[in-house]
Every structure is written in structure tokens, then in C-alpha cells.
């Protein structure tokens, strides 16, 4: 019995409902939130170690055996994602305690943040395509609320775009699911994989695979990222951080699941289409990151570059590269969380958004400045920090697979990332101080602590990569050998 698997989704959902009734007391809301987040982290850690001991575990809802019932499957990949997502959302929500306006706290900010986390964790754990769609929707509906909450002209305009694009993408998702069910007669991921392998990935199944690719590309911001910079730069810090840290990563995760478990037979889709999309994403993201002067836009384009980089690992398609991508996914959730929190804090503190309008902040807010510097190094992949190990493994994988062009693009993007981030750092933190010490807005310590903890994580993931390595290799091994996943899900049923 593995009921523990449902807890990463159940805890945030229940917390969300309880917070609904605690609306009058913000204080009670915060206490319940903290307790629930801490238990979420504890449960996720427990799942990760459980998988280490018992191998892939699954939970059949209501006791309905696969392929008939809906199930949650926990392998190292999903457990690592759930753990990272839980830790990062804990820190971001803790930051939100100190940074959210009363008005928004009254408008059910926290319940929807929890629903978002529930949807994200559910998407990571589910072993059923339709359930993946449902979890995506839970997550997206919560994000619609969070992005529009509080209003304002720019935000409403951007959120209209965001909602429209996601509704269209969800419709495509549904169409793809219908086609898939019509073709292979099942939506259980492992079962789909078996049937696709039996039937061979012919033109029809490849077309379905491409529809899925488009859907997840829209959600993850792979090549179809035009909606992303606007919608990620309009909401306030904590919300933007939650979205940047979690939402696109779910899309990337779904893409890895779909193309390593189910549709891994067609080299043209994997190598050529996905590879080209990844390269174009990186190039487009780099152009944006260099071109804009709005710090929120620069941060958003950095999200896009990272998505492209992770998908490079999928395009290379070998175990080393998967390992790199998993490391990079973990790193990226943490680093995007801290980046958007810092950027949000800078906008809040100065009231300005352009790098040309800020300068000399290091004198006013030294801690924030150094944390941004740490983030810059982490994003660029400087060795002791978290970005390095992922980049290294993707690079090793690319060399092994002989994809030197992808290797070049991926590593050249690091330089652009470094440049774009240093531009923020040098323009905003160096130079003449624009704010008098007397006039400066206070940055309370309790607001700095969550950011600093994320900074600690950036270092810890880099330095402690050795400790993470067994889990990550296990995740990559399952991706490279889909039969392990299939056996764990369908094994008992067939025998």
C-alpha cells in the first residue's frame, strides 16, 4: 500500500480548502500554511527514500488495477521533482507572507497558491495521460486566478493573453488525448508505451506525438514562448516566482515523460524537430535577454533559455544527457525562484523596472546585491554552484551522442545568460546611488531569509551533487529504459 504517494497532492488541496474557511484570520492562514508546507517537504523526502529502497512504487486509486484505473506512479524522476517543487514553493510562499498586500491575502491568495502546488505535484506523480490533463488544469486554473488577482490594466491585458493561450493549448491537449485513446485504446502511460511499441510508431502515432509536442511546447515555453515574457513579468514577485519556478518545469517534465516513455521510436521527431525547437528557443531567449532593459523581461527570457537547454538533453537522447537535464530541472526550479523573488524585490524597493533607471543599489541593499550575484553565477553554471553539474552532464551526453552543434549552442547560451545577468547586476547595483539612505524603503530581514535560503540551496545542490547523484542516475536510468517503468506499473497485472 503506497497511500503516501497521494499525499503531495492531497496535503496542498486540503490545506487550500481549510484556508478558505480561515479567511478572516490571516494569522491562522499563515500558521496552517507553514505546517502544511513543512509536512509536504517531509512527505516528499520520505517518498524519495522509499523509492530508493523499494524501486518504483505505484498507487491504484480505489484499488482499480492498471490499465483500467487511474494511478499515481512514483519513480526517482517524479519524486525528485515533487521534492524540489515542495521545497521551492515552501520558501516562495514563506516569502509571500511578508510581501503580499492585505487586499490580496483577503482575496484567497494562499488557497490558490496551494491549489497550484497541488496541481504541480499531481502532474509530476500521475501515471495516466488524462489525469495529467486534469492536474494541468488544476494548476492552470489556480495560475489564472493568481495572475489576475489584484487587477491593474497591464496585468489584465497580459493575463487575457495567458488565459487565452492556455485554454487553446488545453483544447489541443484534449484533442491529442482523444486521438491517442482512439488509436491505442488506453490512456495509462505504461500501457500506451506497450501498445505503441507493439504497433510501431507509424504516421498516425507520430502525428499524435507531434500534437502532444505542440501542447507541451506551449505550456513549457519551448519555441512557442511568445506569451511567456509578458505574463511572467506582470504579476508581483512571489506569484511570478511561483509560476517561473514551477509551471514551465511541469511542461518540460511532461515532455520528458511523453517522449522517453511513450513516443521514443521516431528519431526524426526526437532529434530533428525537438532539437531544432530547442536551439531556436535558446537563440530567441538569448536575443530577448540581451535586448530588453526591463529586469522582469530579462528574467523571463532567462526562463526561456533554460527551457531550451533542458530540452537539449531530450534531443540528445542518451542516459548522460537525461541525467544532466534532471539535474538542470532541479537547479532551474530553485534558481528561477530566487531570481524572480530578487527581481520582484528590486522592483518593489525602487519602484522602477528598467536597468537604466536603477543604480548603486549595493549601498542600500548589500545582501540583496550579493544574492543576485550568486544567482548570476548559478545561472551561468559556474562550478561550485547548482547550474554547473547539469550543464556538465548535458555536455557529456552531447559529446557521447556526437551532437556537437547542440553542445555549442547550449554552452554559448551560458555566456549570454551571464552577460544578461551581469548587465542587471552592474547597472542596478554598481554606480552612483540613486536612493538616499533616509528615503530608502526597508527590506526587512524576515523577507530576506527565504531568498537567502534559496541561495543556500543553490550552493547546496552544487556542492552536494554527490549526494543527489544516485537519485538522479536512477531517474535517468528509468528514462533510458522505459521497460523498467512499464514493469513496475503493469508487471503484476500481466503475470
Amino acid at each position: 500500500m503506497n497511500n503516501i504517494l497521494v499525499l503531495p497532492m492531497l496535503i496542498p488541496l486540503l490545506t487550500g480548502f481549510v484556508l478558505f474557511f480561515l479567511r478572516p484570520s490571516i494569522r491562522a492562514q499563515k500558521i496552517v500554511s507553514i505546517l502544511s508546507l513543512l509536512s509536504l517537504v517531509a512527505v516528499s523526502t520520505n517518498i524519495l527514500f522509499r523509492i530508493r529502497e523499494d524501486g518504483i512504487i505505484r498507487l491504484d486509486f480505489g484499488g482499480w488495477q492498471p490499465p483500467f484505473g487511474i494511478l499515481f506512479v512514483g519513480d526517482s524522476f517524479s519524486a525528485l521533482m515533487v521534492l524540489t517543487a515542495s521545497v521551492v514553493s515552501t520558501l516562495i510562499i514563506t516569502y509571500a507572507f511578508t510581501a503580499t498586500e492585505r487586499r490580496m491575502e483577503n482575496m484567497f491568495f494562499y488557497p490558490f497558491a496551494f491549489f497550484l502546488v497541488a496541481g504541480v505535484n499531481g502532474s509530476f506523480l500521475t501515471g495516466d495521460m488524462f489525469n495529467l490533463f486534469v492536474c494541468f488544469e488544476v494548476m492552470l486554473l489556480a495560475s489564472y486566478v493568481l495572475i489576475t488577482l489584484g487587477g491593474g490594466k497591464v496585468r489584465l491585458a497580459e493575463s487575457m493573453k495567458y488565459v487565452a493561450i492556455n485554454v487553446v493549448a488545453s483544447w489541443f491537449f484534449l484533442v491529442a488525448l482523444a486521438f491517442l485513446y482512439g488509436t491505442v485504446g488506453t490512456l495509462n502511460m505504461a500501457h500506451v508505451s506497450v501498445r505503441v511499441a507493439e504497433a510501431g510508431q507509424g504516421p498516425l502515432l507520430s502525428a499524435i506525438a507531434i500534437v502532444f509536442l505542440v501542447v507541451f511546447a506551449l505550456k513549457a515555453g519551448l519555441f512557442l514562448y511568445f506569451w511567456l515574457p509578458g505574463s511572467y513579468s506582470s504579476p508581483p514577485g512571489p506569484i511570478a516566482a511561483l509560476m517561473a519556478a514551477l509551471l514551465t518545469k511541469v511542461g518540460v517534465y511532461a515532455m520528458f515523460r511523453t517522449f522517453t516513455l511513450m513516443f521514443y521510436h521516431d528519431d526524426f521527431i526526437l532529434g530533428t524537430i525537438i532539437g531544432t525547437m530547442a536551439v531556436l528557443t535558446i537563440i530567441g531567449g538569448c536575443l530577448g535577454a540581451v535586448a530588453y532593459t526591463d529586469i522582469r523581461q530579462i528574467a523571463s527570457y532567462n526562463v526561456i533559455i533554460a527551457v531550451g537547454f533542458m530540452i537539449l538533453g531530450l534531443a540528445v537522447f542518451n542516459e548522460q544527457a537525461f541525467k544532466g537535464s534532471v539535474f538542470y530541472l532541479i537547479h532551474d526550479m530553485v534558481i528561477k525562484g530566487i531570481l524572480f523573488l530578487i527581481v520582484g524585490a528590486m522592483v518593489y524597493l525602487t519602484g522602477k523596472t528598467k536597468i537604466t533607471e536603477m543604480s548603486g543599489l549595493i549601498r542600500n541593499y548589500p545582501a540583496l546585491g550579493w544574492l543576485l550575484f550568486l544567482t548570476t553565477l548559478g545561472l551561468a553554471g559556474i562550478p561550485p554552484l547548482s547550474g554547473f553539474i547539469g550543464k556538465m552532464y548535458v555536455g557529456l551526453g552531447a559529446v557521447e551522442g556526437g551532437d556537437y552543434f547542440l553542445l555549442f549552442v547550449g554552452f554559448a547560451s551560458s555566456l549570454v545568460v551571464l552577460y544578461s545577468m551581469l548587465r542587471i547586476f552592474m547597472n542596478c547595483f554598481w554606480g552612483e546611488t540613486i536612493i538616499n539612505r533616509e528615503d530608502q524603503r526597508l527590506l526587512p530581514t524576515r523577507r530576506l531569509i527565504p531568498i537567502a535560503l534559496l541561495g543556500v540551496l543553490v550552493v547546496a545542490i552544487g556542492v552536494g551533487a554527490q549526494a543527489l547523484e544516485p537519485f538522479v542516475s536512477d531517474a535517468a536510468r528509468v528514462m533510458a529504459n522505459p521497460e523498467l517503468y512499464i514493469d513496475a506499473v503493469l508487471g503484476e497485472v500481466e503475470s
Binding site: 500500500m1 497521494v6 492531497l10 481549510v18 478558505f20 480505489g62 484499488g63 488557497p111
Partner: protein, 140 residues
């Protein structure tokens, strides 16, 4: 509303109860036949919406003084907890049970835990539909 809608009001007073009964019937029949919490909830909420359309919001609120957002949250929570019960007893999450009981008036009756789940669904639907209608009506 100042229109002369005596007919509408009179009919509504009767029809609302027919709709409510039909909603409950749909909800209960859903266990073995077409119906269930979602449809039942929709029908039940249509009765409430009809009341809101015919009488004004304040009048209905005097009779039905609930915060429908809370009803929606409560319903979803009931559904969720009905699944958790199984987990506490060591069965997979969302496992449902049923049994036959000899009840005083109803005779031999089948009681199933899935009804609790469905009741949660119905409450969520009612809460959501009424909340949507009320928020739209406020903007006009």
C-alpha cells in the same frame, strides 16, 4: 425589478420545489442509473438560479443565507476526505465500500460511501454555479 411578473413568481414558487425534488432524485439514482452528483448538483443549482432571477438577490439571501463560495470549498473538502477515509483504514486512496442494511422505513437498503463523495461533488457544483451567476450579475 419593477416589471409585473406575477405569473413568473407564482409559477416559480411551485416549480422550484419540482426542480429540487428532481435534483435529489437525479443525485440518488446516479448510483446505478444515469445521474449522480454533478448532474444533480447542476439541477439543484438551477433551482437556486431561477430564484435569483425571479426574486432579487437580497430576498433570496434572507431565505438561503449561505456563502456559496464556502459551500463549494466545503463540498470539495468532503469529497477529498471521503477518499482519505479509505487511506486511514489501510486501503488505497479513494477506495469505496458499500453494504446492505435493514433500515426501519426503507427496508433493505444499499448504503455506499461513494454517496458521500457524490454529495461533495454536488455541493461543489451548486456552490460554483451560484457563485459564477452571482458574480456575473454584480457587474451589470
Amino acid at each position: 425589478m419593477k416589471e409585473n411578473d406575477v405569473i413568473l413568481r407564482t409559477v416559480t414558487r411551485v416549480v422550484v420545489f419540482i426542480i429540487l425534488t428532481f435534483g435529489v432524485e437525479l443525485f440518488l439514482s446516479g448510483h446505478h442509473n444515469p445521474g449522480g452528483g454533478f448532474v444533480g448538483g447542476l439541477v439543484l443549482s438551477s433551482a437556486l438560479v431561477l430564484l435569483y432571477v425571479v426574486f432579487d438577490i437580497e430576498t433570496v439571501h434572507q431565505g438561503v443565507p449561505f456563502d456559496f463560495r464556502k459551500i463549494a470549498a466545503f463540498g470539495a473538502m468532503v469529497s477529498l476526505l471521503s477518499g482519505t477515509g479509505a487511506a486511514v483504514l489501510g486501503k488505497p486512496f479513494l477506495t469505496q465500500g458499500f453494504g446492505y442494511f435493514d433500515l426501519p422505513i426503507f427496508g433493505l437498503t444499499e448504503l455506499a460511501t461513494v454517496t458521500i463523495f457524490e454529495a461533495g461533488v454536488a455541493l461543489t457544483v451548486i456552490g460554483t454555479v451560484v457563485t459564477i451567476i452571482l458574480s456575473i450579475s454584480k457587474d451589470v
